[in-house]
Symmetry: D3
Subunit: 240 residues, 6 copies
């Protein structure tokens, strides 16, 4: 039994509240246990300079935490005057993952801005961000379709993300909370599609290493979590 | 009749949801119409260098908006690498206002960090922030009292803020929404205590001017709004 | 009697030296007691991006202090790499105030850059800046008229600013010097036109509050100061 | 046959020139094909604030490219005034990887600064940096041992990194050059120890996805590359 | 005859107004023709970290221009968020030059902050800054002696600076104004002591070169200018 | 005898390795004793905004050191977020010097980017950079001529730089190493052409002064060093 009563293969409760804010084209509040993230998708009718004139769209993501999303208050990145390496890594990951399931040619010369703002953190903020951002993006595309600003749904598959880890006490565990994330020896983020293909796989030994057999065990556990998350997405999305 | 159906002297519906987040010592989600702000109060057992050794506390505030709190997406200040003048002005205002109703000697050498994060904006974000921050701060002090980390409640009075304005069409109006804020000729923010004393008064003619008589009319309207807000605060706070 | 021998309702000596520098279109050295500010107005034949194509002008202001304008040397903002919140607040205030007495349509697509550089500070630097900047701006417009780069004088009224405060010992006082500014319980900046209309009113209780009656007393004292300052402006300006 | 004449399972020629610079405690020039990186290890007898008093060491890495290491000249990060997300990601990766094969308790309160400066780039700069940095770090530790500033060699295993990818034309390929890196559909960086354990695994579908079977194929190819690299390291290092 | 009526060997009129500001320990307004610089010297009873514990003093300088000191308005360095290369070069030059005529051991652990703020520029701002800063620094040291915060005058000699140049039309000329500075082929700044020794010599061919004979001619002209400036300094300083 | 066995008038061994990197249009690795600098020249078919439409070229330089080029590791300027004053001074010097021997009209609207990256430092890095950059730039121009992207060689003369100094123990010495540079009382950088004309002369008394006679002695010593360096350049360059 884990510190919050779950067994090794159990995810925390997931809820996805759609249309959470009134201004963005798409928005959700996703909760995975005590981790809560507001994900919004905003449509901009321009693309960045390096994309102009190609008739293709672009998807870019930003990620941030409220200062007191965490147990200790963090200094705002706006106050520091710079974005940390961790934030940049997460932002690049979210954008890259979403682009893998979108046919950018069908989007046309538009930028989809994804904003993931963590209002409460308890581990797995980056994977919750990806899972929620996929829904916010889909809602935005649905709106564009309804308004006839786009001809075809450009999304090619579902997309969700979860974390798995190798824990000294519990072995391979699914969906790590903050406490577990801090103590796991191996930490892996898995992003997969509805068809069960990998989009991204990032496994890290935290001052530790792992074998091929452990890798296979973690991947298999991750796959089961992804299926569960995509079920939750399907319940709030009709059009795909 | 105003664009949202209110009369000139009417505020928008106000709700204050306490203990909104699990980590901060005090937190609320305040809604004033469609304006929604998460206000948190965090306790730090140190004071800034210029305050050390005086045995007094300090209160400081930060304010931010989610990029898509507004109709058009705003660039994050962390991305720009600097905090705008508008944000700094609001942060200084919130901190100054709260300090006016707190006996800092009773706080002891602690810093109260106030964070106001606007998740949806429809005018009056700075006044909603002050009104909500007062409640979050009070909750944090109650927690310190309960944990015996503080001897006496240091708050000396209630505190709330609202906006009033002079509108070409409607004359003097209370609690401006975004639409009204953009078109008002005179815009005034009023911060008052439960005893009806002024803490701060900021009246600005936007490419316009105003007379003493108009000033008096606006102030009187503001007072009625403040009373209403303090009623709402009293409903969620018991200890004061 | 105040610390510099004045009575409560007395301003410090005011001098405005016009055409202080040779390059700017308009320039003054204004002294209010020991507070000395160089104010210049520069004409730029472009407007900022958000104003282009409207045929209107724009007025923007910058404010700074020499590092040793004050008793203790201050670190330069260029060295810090950022402009402080206080400076931004003052810059925004100066620009907003000047725009209230200028018909920007008559200016045409030009930017008036106002620079207020405090070379010696003894309280009231922002109000002296506004009072001096109004004269520098007027001189610049006169030059444009003389050179036929503008058809009509766009200034609609005189504009001056002063401070008033509520002092524990002296009660309501006019034109606070540095010593008084540090100890006043209520501090108010008043910006008014030649016609006696308010452009901006900013009253702040410094860890204190104030009543409506005190507000009225302060405003009335401020009005008398503004009249005095506008007299001084009229002596150096002929054209208005 | 690949564009540089190699077969799918072939690495580019690897050379590691030790003691390349005279000042650093450890330094190498590593070449992997046309990719050339200067890796240095510097010993600092302090640890960062968050590590003080624990008696443990720390390893941190920085990565940079000469502006003309690439086909097009890049703007220096010092000129931009900020480090890009890509650089931060690589720096964090190098430091994390090296820490996985060092017993930090044996290092004592010292920081090992790793600097990887790419002087010529042709794909695989981050993996070459890790492979070279491991040697530079080992040389630095050997120097500390010789000077009796350390009691025991803290390195627990060899460490090397390589890239593998899934290429439309060639299928699974080892050690991608720049041309291949730009066109590969799946790109994976693998960091492994001398014992064949994983330290880090990062697989990314570039606007593409990959199956478990493809993952297994890539991993197996990566393992063979790592073995080859560790052979090259063993030839220049005696003490391990 | 030069564009302002001078002959080749003639300086512009020089005036040095002492005790120009009330707060700094030493201050002057120096005018060299239309170039006007406020120079102040501030005493700080600490030294920078790299000097601590040596019992020696330090002298450091900052230089800036008001935005409209020049014909075209310049963007403030505080607004840009960074100090330009030109400013840094001048700051380093001023500090280095002053340190050459001060016995830092006699200063004790104090920092002398020199601030040179150009309020009007017409060529030669850096040399006027040095000449004025020497006087401001001397006044500050005199004040320290009078207040018995220092035992002996640490200044070892007078110090002044001027510019000379090689001009296509006029040949070798002394004390270049802005117009001449822009068109000179060779530009040289000379800093010398009262004893006629060089402290710094910087000669630059602006897309041109110069011979040893031209160098000797320029140096000789510079020496005569320095003598004149030191005369002006002697008239306002008694103690040396 | 100097600390490295040289006599006063002796330079350290100089080697210039051409075509050191594969991507840049021109590149060298220059060694002057233990000082090693990679100099590259990159051609950009645009000029900076202030040069556009004049049909002329521009030459600009950047200079940097690897963090561990020196005995103590230096913090990267990209990490600090700003370029130091010393770096800016050197960059401006390199660019200015090279422009003095190039007919920019013959270059056409192109920018030559010079990058000087010090990989090992032992004094004289800025003069080695200039000497090496001249060769890299010449190689780049030769390439443009060969590819018929330029009609005529725009270089008007050879260019090299060296340092000389006045040393307490050794008197006037040529080509100072790091040890000597730190202890010299007078430090002078001399940049000259193949024809023996000065391009730049910077002599500084480090908390010391120097006479005209000493200046002449230093210049004469510098001239002999420059001749030696230009010989080395001629051996690797044919076309001039």
């Amino acid at each position: 039994m884990r510190n919050d009563g779950r067994n090794q293969k159990e995810m925390r409760p997931v809820t996805i509240k759609t249309d959470y804010l009134k201004h963005p084209e798409g928005s959700v509040l996703i909760s995975v246990g005590d981790t809560k993230v507001i994900c919004t998708a905003s449509i901009d009718d321009r693309v960045p300079p390096f994309m102009r004139g190609q008739g293709k769209g672009w998807i870019t993501a930003e990620y941030s935490m409220l200062p007191r999303a965490t147990q200790q208050r963090n200094i705002r990145e706006s106050t520091k005057g710079k974005v940390t390496g961790r934030t940049m890594e997460i932002q690049r990951l979210i954008g890259r993952a979403l682009r893998a399931v979108v046919d950018l040619d069908k989007v046309g010369e538009k930028t989809i801005w994804i904003d993931c703002d963590v209002i409460q953190a308890d581990g797995g903020t980056r994977t919750a961000s990806i899972t929620g951002a996929f829904v916010a993006m889909t809602l935005a595309f649905e709106k564009l379709l309804k308004e006839e600003r786009m001809k075809e749904m450009p999304i090619t598959d579902y997309l969700a993300a979860t974390s798995v880890g190798m824990h000294r006490e519990h072995g391979a565990i699914l969906d790590l909370n903050y406490e577990e994330d801090s103590t796991a020896e191996v930490d892996m983020n898995i992003i997969m599609t509805g068809q069960g293909k990998f989009v991204e796989l990032q496994g890290t030994g935290e001052e530790a290493t792992f074998s091929k057999q452990e890798l296979d065990e973690l991947i298999s556990l991750g796959e089961s979590g992804i299926k569960h998350l995509i079920e939750a997405q399907k319940q709030v999305l009709q059009s795909l």
